[in-house]
Each structure stands twice: as structure tokens, then as C-alpha cells.
């Protein structure tokens, strides 16, 4: 029995099912063992010729961050931009898949990312799309210098203006060392308390870990140790993985030759 005969007998049924099943099994082995390529054609994808990103070794780390710790991505993007590196090719599909929420500078995609985005309608649309209008209060906030923003945020922390903090805290990234220490002191003060400000610091724990100045990372570790907080405390749980990824990230950039 050839395969076509086996398939038609299987569809309508056979008075000798054992014989049919044995024939199907033997033919299956023959087909699996004797696979011969029948496809012809030409390679469909001709990428732009550019060298791979020097940041290629960060590919897995960026994919991990996209899946588990998106808070660290703004820093990844900043560090790549500062070096003039495009995103590693290995993480481009995840970046494009989540483009609207991650909002990297489109230059980070490089020629390779822009080329790749053309093949999936969702990606093409996301890259081409203008970002939505920003509310007036946010425009005003963003127009301030980082020093002004930090001054206001420090005031809000001091006065425990939880609602204001909740609105503006998440808009501020890339903190100065001074502001980082102000926030860390506040964390130390409230970590073992039950209060609205303590709740807010728990809620924003990933944001704090991702945005404190890199030179304050050691201080953050010492703070956790000094606080005797349990490893299950929301702040400890959020900080450990983020600080660990940030260390790996900075170690990579520090290992590169100076510009």
C-alpha cells in the first residue's frame, strides 16, 4: 500500500484494520527516514549590511529584562545611546513585539531593526506610529530641569504627599546621587512601618531600584541589610533582581574600551 492508499482507507475504514495500521506504521518510518527536500526558491530576507551591535552579548539580558524586569530597560537604552550602539539583533523581535510599551528611541533599532520591523504588520505599525499626545501637566513637568524635579519630589517625600508622589515619581528617571540618597533614607525610615508612604515606597520599589544612581547601589544593599527586612519584604524582593541585572549591565559597559 502506498501512502495515498493508506490515507483513503483510513478515512473510510477498513475490514482489515490491523493490516492497515501496520502498513501505516511501516510507511511512517520510511517517510521519516527518507525525507527529501522538495522545497525550491530563493532566500527571502536580504538584510542591510551592517556589522552586528557591539552590545550583542547583552541580548539575553535584555530579553530577560523585557520579560521580567522592564523597569531596567530605560537605563539599558540610555547606556546604549550614550555609546552609540544599536540594540543587539538577538533581542530585536522582543523589542519590536513590545515596542509601543517600551518606546525606545527608534535610532536604537538600527538599520537591522527597522528592516526587521517591515515584515510583521504589528511591528511596522508600532514603529511608524507617532506617540500619543502628552497631557499638559506632564509636558510642564518634563520641561523642568532634573534638579527642579528632584527638588519637588524631595519636598513631596518630606511632606509625605503620597498622591502627588504617586503621579510624578514614575515620570522621573536617571536620578542624581543626591536624590537617590534622599529616597534611600526615606526607604530606611519607612521600610518596617505601616503607613501610606511605606505603601507607596513598596509600590514603587522596582522604580526606585531601577532609577537610583548607580553609585548608590552599594548604599541600597547596605540599607537593606541594616533594615533587617525579610527577603520576602516587597522592597527586598523587588530590589535584589533589579540591582543584580544593573550590576551585570554596568560590568559589561565598563569592560568595553573607553570611547
Amino acid at each position: 500500500m502506498n501512502w495515498a492508499e493508506i490515507m483513503s482507507a483510513s478515512a473510510v475504514g477498513s475490514s482489515e484494520p490491523a493490516k492497515l495500521l501496520r502498513a501505516a506504521g511501516k510507511e511512517a518510518i520510511r517517510r521519516k527516514a527518507g525525507y527529501r527536500a522538495s522545497q525550491t526558491g530563493t532566500v527571502a530576507f536580504s538584510p542591510p549590511s551592517e556589522p552586528a551591535s557591539p552590545a550583542e552579548p547583552l541580548s539575553d539580558l535584555i530579553r530577560y529584562a523585557i520579560a521580567k524586569l522592564p523597569e531596567v530597560l530605560p537605563e539599558v537604552f540610555r547606556l546604549l545611546e550614550a555609546r552609540g550602539f544599536p540594540l543587539p539583533w538577538g533581542c530585536l523581535p522582543e523589542i519590536l513585539e513590545n515596542y509601543s510599551s517600551l518606546r525606545p528611541n527608534s535610532e536604537l533599532l538600527g538599520d537591522r531593526g527597522l528592516w526587521l520591523s517591515q515584515f510583521v504588520p504589528k511591528w511596522k505599525k508600532a514603529v511608524a506610529k507617532e506617540q500619543g499626545a502628552v497631557p499638559a501637566w506632564e509636558v510642564k513637568w518634563r520641561a523642568q530641569s532634573p534638579q527642579q524635579r528632584e527638588h519637588h519630589l524631595a519636598e513631596m517625600l518630606k511632606d509625605q504627599r503620597v498622591e502627588d508622589l504617586s503621579v510624578y515619581f514614575k515620570l522621573h528617571r536617571d536620578w542624581s546621587q543626591e536624590f537617590s540618597e534622599v529616597v534611600l533614607e526615606s526607604v530606611l525610615e519607612h521600610i518596617n512601618r505601616a503607613s501610606p508612604i511605606a505603601e507607596l515606597l513598596c509600590k514603587f520599589a522596582p522604580h526606585v531600584a531601577a532609577n537610583i544612581h548607580y553609585s548608590s547601589v552599594e548604599v541600597a544593599d547596605q540599607l537593606l541589610y541594616a533594615s533587617h527586612a525579610s527577603p520576602q519584604h516587597p522592597i527586598a524582593k523587588a530590589w535584589f533582581p533589579i540591582l543584580s541585572v544593573r550590576r551585570r549591565l554596568h560590568k559589561f559597559f565598563l569592560s568595553l574600551p573607553k570611547k
Binding site: 475504514g13 477498513s14 495500521l21 511501516k26 510507511e27 521519516k32 527536500a37 530576507f45 549590511s49
Partner: protein, 307 residues
């Protein structure tokens, strides 16, 4: 069945044989009525339970996978008939186990779900080598997660498969990682296939991914394996590719000799291969099952990346 079998083992083999008889009869009923009469395509979970009751976990898995094939694609019937035929031959073979050489008997028994006694395994010779783990896949099997890892031996120049299980939310032990080299001592499971190994000891070393070849090398290796053990489900391979082409929801890769072969990967994984296309040397690492090459990782001039 060997005359030295203990009474307990004999009872177990008898129970599995009863389950195998039931499975065979069930398949015969289905193929007597024909797949066109949809009502016969029911009852897979009952068969799976029956096999579990018969202590034939391997057969239970095969019936479950057969049931899962229904309506998965436009041409699912082809695959279904192939797998039903293979399963029938396996049940047949188990029921006349004594007619096979010892090495084949061991493979058949392990495939139906009879594990190798650890004392037997411990008495087998140990193979030491530096192994590079470049292919790895995980599957959920009920409350368990199975992880199949393929390693390529730097001195032995062969692929071996190590399989581990864990309960959901528990770590694998040992936790062998994709993209990692290992200095390992392994014991090959007895049997005619000689692809599956148990880890005796391991120590991490730097990865040195194997060089890729042409697709026909992998296809030939799989054909040889099927010659030794017809129910072998897949073999690992490394293939250097020129690039890819997409046809509908199917992907094909072209090796350096111009041979096209069907490729599958996680949805974003396949685009990762496209992202690297055009690089000097792109090597796909994955499993070939006679139908599709399931890509698990890619090696490029910039390094090794899991898909």
C-alpha cells in the same frame, strides 16, 4: 521476556501487556470505522488512564499525544495516521517482545514506560567528555515539566540526550543550562538507539558550540537511528544556513549546499533567526524528527543565542 524476571516484574509486564492489547483493539476499532466517522475519534483520555493504570507511562503519553494531534492543522490526518500506525507497531512489538534482540527489547520496554533499574545503570561504563549543551526543549506533562537537553561531545563527536523532570515550580536537578559547556561523566542507557544518557557528574566549562554541517548529515543520522530503533522520535543536529523563506505559516531554511528544509521555532525565535540572517556564519541547532527541524538556538559570529 527474560526468564530471570522477578515475580513482581512479571506481574507488571503482564499488566502492561493487557493494556497494550486494549490499546491495540481500540486502534483497530477506530480504523475499522474510518477517521471520517468523527465519533470514533473520542476516548483518548480513557485510553491514557488505562495505560497509567497498567503502569505504562510511555504508552499513556503516546495516546495523549495522538489525541492532541486532532484538528491541529489542515493536514493533521496525515500525521495522525502516521502516529497511530507507529503506536500500533509499538504495541504489537511489545506483545512479542521475546522475538527481538536484547538491545531492541530494552528500547521497546523503556518506550512503553519501564524504567531502567538504577543498579543496572550504575554497572554500565562511564563516558567522560566535554559536552556542549546547544539544544534544549521543555514540555509540560501533567504536573511534571520534562526537559530534553542535547549535548555534543567534543572528543566523542556525537549527540547525547539527557532528560530530566521536575514538579511545576521546582528547579531541575541537575539544572543543565542551554548555551553552557559541561565536563560530564555520562552513562548511556542500554539499548539499540544509544542516544539517551544519565548524568553521573558534571562541572560547568565554557561553551564551544559544535560546527554546523549540511542538513542531509542530520537527516541521514536520523535515518540511521530509525534503522536501529524505529520509534526514535528525534535527533539533534547543527546546520549552517544561508537564510530562510516563509510560506504562509511555514518556514524553510536553506543550508550551504542549497537544500531547503522545514524549520519551526517559537514565534519570536524564528524572527530572531531572520534578524541574524546575512551574518557570515549562521548555525541552527535543533531537533529533527523526520518532518520538521525544531530550532532551539542559533550560533553566529557574535555568539550563541537561545531562541
Amino acid at each position: 521476556m527474560a526468564s530471570s524476571d522477578s515475580p513482581t516484574r512479571k506481574r507488571r509486564l503482564k499488566r502492561i501487556a493487557e493494556g497494550a492489547e486494549a490499546g491495540r483493539a481500540w486502534l483497530e476499532v477506530m480504523f475499522r470505522s474510518g477517521l471520517g466517522s468523527g465519533s470514533v475519534l473520542e476516548g483518548f483520555s480513557d485510553l491514557e488512564k488505562r495505560m497509567v493504570d497498567s503502569q505504562a507511562a510511555g504508552l499513556a503519553r503516546k495516546f495523549r499525544l495522538l489525541g492532541e494531534l486532532r484538528n491541529t492543522s489542515a493536514d493533521w490526518q496525515d500525521r495522525f495516521v502516521e502516529e497511530a500506525g507507529l503506536l500500533y507497531l509499538l504495541l504489537d512489538s511489545f506483545l512479542r517482545l521475546d522475538s527481538f534482540p536484547e538491545a531492541m527489547q530494552q528500547e521497546i520496554m523503556r518506550t512503553v514506560g519501564i524504567t531502567v533499574d538504577s543498579r543496572v545503570l550504575n554497572a554500565l561504563p562511564i563516558q567522560e567528555d566535554l559536552w556542549d549543551l546547544v539544544v534544549q526543549r521543555e514540555f509540560k506533562e501533567g504536573r511534571l515539566v520534562a526537559r530534553r537537553s542535547w549535548c555534543y561531545g567534543r572528543s566523542s563527536q556525537r549527540w547525547v540526550c539527557v532528560q530530566h523532570y521536575r514538579i511545576v515550580n521546582q528547579p531541575f536537578e541537575p539544572n543543565l543550562m542551554l548555551g553552557q559547556g559541561y565536563r560530564m561523566a555520562l552513562t548511556m542507557y542500554p539499548g539499540s538507539a544509544q542516544t539517551r544518557a544519565a548524568v553521573k557528574s558534571y562541572e560547568r566549562v565554557e561553551l564551544v558550540p559544535p560546527l554546523g554541517g549540511c542538513f542531509d548529515d542530520t537527516a541521514k543520522e536520523y535515518a540511521d537511528l530509525l534503522g536501529r530503533f524505529p520509534w526514535a522520535e528525534q535527533i539533534a543536529g547543527s546546520v549552517c544556513i544561508n537564510g530562510l523563506v516563509q510560506e504562509g505559516d511555514r518556514w524553510y531554511a536553506q543550508d550551504l549546499e542549497g537544500t531547503w528544509f522545514p524549520v519551526k521555532a517559537d514565534p519570536l525565535g524564528i524572527w530572531r533567526v531572520v534578524a541574524y540572517s546575512g551574518s557570515k556564519r549562521v548555525t541552527l541547532f535543533g531537533e529533527w524528527d523526520g518532518r520538521e527541524f525544531y530550532a532551539s538556538s542559533v550560533g553566529t559570529e557574535s555568539g550563541f543565542v537561545g531562541l
